[in-house]
Symmetry: C2
Subunit: 208 residues, 2 copies
């Protein structure tokens, strides 16, 4: 049984500490390439706990994605059911994605990396649980907007990539901000301006 | 002198073969993580030639970026000077980015990875030579469109990330197409549809 392998020096909350450490290191260093030893050192726990709690590094990354995305997935499902216009839903959805990425700038890169590194059945499961709900919600909002005449007809498959890519790039390519514009980090004004820019682009693209 | 270290078994065109091999492997495997040995094996040349021609792997990747982007950078500079409307320029520009990414789907990821891995002065040089011309051209087209009244006022810094991200994501996250939509690879119809989708979004976002 797994519990028998629990090291004797385990601290309360070690599982959460490991995920927090991985998340913080990926944010700080702007890369997914963090070793298990670095994560354990930051968390202040024995790296053997990764095996105990998550099986391996991939398992920990999937657990982190699950944790980070749980609230967003619940919210986007609720959003579809709300009694507001498709345009309002779409604006709220775009803001929600950006809020998620401001909190976890590595999110989209990690999702894709996990799907690439995982065995096919695990990757399929990650896609089903963590990407499909977002894609389905977008498709539902697009369909209701097309039905009400608010939006033109849009292929939701393509819409997903366009919107996610536009939202994500300022995080994935944040070094461009440093080296081309001499700006280090996204302050609140820049964050707000980017959300506004993406919203205008997405909503403008849905007009007839 | 470098020429003295040229291995005796060098084939004509070995420098190009190495860059082609690196490019093809990154396309096929949908990752930047390709070893020097794999590249040399695919190119059919001795891996010592990487050191001879490029200094190291980073040098080879920068040479590949230079080669891949040379034509696009020349074209986008010419586009700014053309005697057509800002809207026409922007549509042509978006199509140009997409054509570049269809040919080299790893392009944007490699640019960012190279900036992250390179010493700061090298990263700055890469940004100046390979990103700034694109960003400057976009800024010029946006400014002329705002001056003529065709576009609303847009911050070109933010516009760059939104457009590049929207164009890039279908390549960076192509596994989403596999696992969520069961579609393996982008055929010509899907490519055309995506270019149209991004164009509508970008142009829609520039309207008043």
């Amino acid at each position: 049984m797994a519990a028998q392998r629990l090291p004797s020096d385990v601290k309360p909350g070690a599982r959460e500490h490991l995920m927090d450490a991985a998340s913080n290191l990926m944010c700080e260093r702007d890369t997914l390439d963090i070793s298990l030893n670095e994560i354990a050192l930051r968390a202040g726990v024995n790296s053997a706990l990764v095996k105990y709690y998550f099986g391996n590094k991939l398992g920990m990354m999937i657990a982190l994605l699950d944790r980070n995305l749980a609230k967003s997935i619940e919210q986007v499902k609720g959003l579809v059911e709300m009694n507001i216009s498709p345009s309002q839903k779409m604006r709220i959805h775009v803001k929600g994605i950006m809020r998620l990425y401001f909190q976890y700038p590595y999110m989209q890169r990690l999702l894709v990396a996990v799907m690439r590194d995982a065995p096919e059945d695990v990757a399929q499961d990650v896609a089903n649980r963590l990407i499909r709900p977002m894609a389905d919600a977008q498709a539902a909002i697009l369909a209701s907007g097309a039905a009400s005449g608010d939006f033109r007809e849009v292929d939701p498959k393509l819409f997903y990539f366009a919107v996610i890519g536009a939202c994500d790039q300022i995080f994935s390519a944040r070094l461009v901000m440093n080296y081309v514009h001499g700006i280090d980090g996204l302050d609140e004004d820049l964050q707000r301006a980017y959300v506004e820019e993406i919203s205008r682009m997405v909503m403008g693209g849905l007009r007839h």
